[in-house]
Amino acid sequence: MKSIFVGLFLVVAGTAHAASILISDTRDAFDRVNAMKGLLHDVDTRIQAIQTGYELAVKPLSAELEQLRKPGQNGQNQQRKAALLLQIAGLQKNASLAQQAVGQANEKALAQIDTAIQAIEAELKKERKADAVLRAQDTLYFNAQCACNITNEIYKRLNARLPKLALAIK
């Protein structure tokens, strides 16, 4: 009888003292998620292209404007100056809108990656019968060497499922 009580106490103590947790640290995702690396490159390339296109289009207009602003030019050119300024402003606006669209597409793609990460976390929680999945930023400290650290497994599954992600620009 005594041993039964002792045993019961030990089992209750063993199960009640702590919970089973999993921790994911995806703060270095930009370096380790292939889809993210590709995305970053894609965003850089597109932003660069928009910038270059804008500069190429504006250059001759700015040069002409500069000529018109030189002393000795008569007032008849005012209309042309105004037209040039309007054209430059239009180009600027278009470039800005294009960059905005790239930014929005990037955010959408990143959200897609985050959703995929959440799905993998939920899967691992179920597989390992854990009580909770914490993210590194939820903790004041976590032991990176702990078997509860599922970061590598997340990256492995994510890279297999989502090897590439394209920017969907409207």
């Binding site: 030990l10 089992v11 921790i23 009580d131 903790t139 400290y141």
Partner: protein, 143 residues
């Protein structure tokens, strides 16, 4: 002989029960194998003697310079914050050291632990004590 057999049976019976519970205990531990600690970083600052001392030092420095006691003016508040920055840098290191010593898997703020339905020993006082020891020589840097 009969007595001896009876004694042996009792002994064997006891051993079987013991191993049964031992097995269950192992199963219990294997299922719940993470050590989670709780530390309230805001409370650490509130109970830290170093923080209290720096606040007093700041007030007396202000009184010395401006003649105004009591609430710190923005200039001295900024200087106090700057002096406390060492503390904020040291806090995660102290938590990490304590967590490693206690072989913890994670240290959480109470609100986070509550959010995830987790519990564990509270090390707030220990953190404050360790922090005070580490920063015993920290001085208020007057503006």
């Amino acid at each position: 002989m009969a007595a001896l057999l009876e004694h042996g049976g009792k002994r064997r019976g006891f051993t079987v029960v013991k191993y049964f519970w031992l097995m269950l205990l192992c199963a219990g531990f294997a299922h719940a194998d993470n050590v989670v600690l709780i530390a309230d970083s805001a409370r650490v600052e509130a109970i830290s003697t170093v923080v209290a001392r720096l606040k007093v030092e700041a007030q007396s420095a202000q009184q010395k310079k401006t003649g105004k006691p009591g609430v710190l003016n923005p200039e001295f508040t900024e200087a106090l914050e700057s002096s406390l920055s060492d503390l904020r840098v040291a806090l995660p290191l102290v938590i990490e050291t304590l967590a490693k010593a206690k072989r913890a898997d994670a240290v959480l703020e109470p609100a986070v632990a509550k959010q995830f339905g987790l519990s564990g020993p509270d090390i707030t006082l220990e953190v404050a004590k360790a922090l005070d020891m580490r920063l015993a020589k920290l001085q208020f840097l007057a503006p």
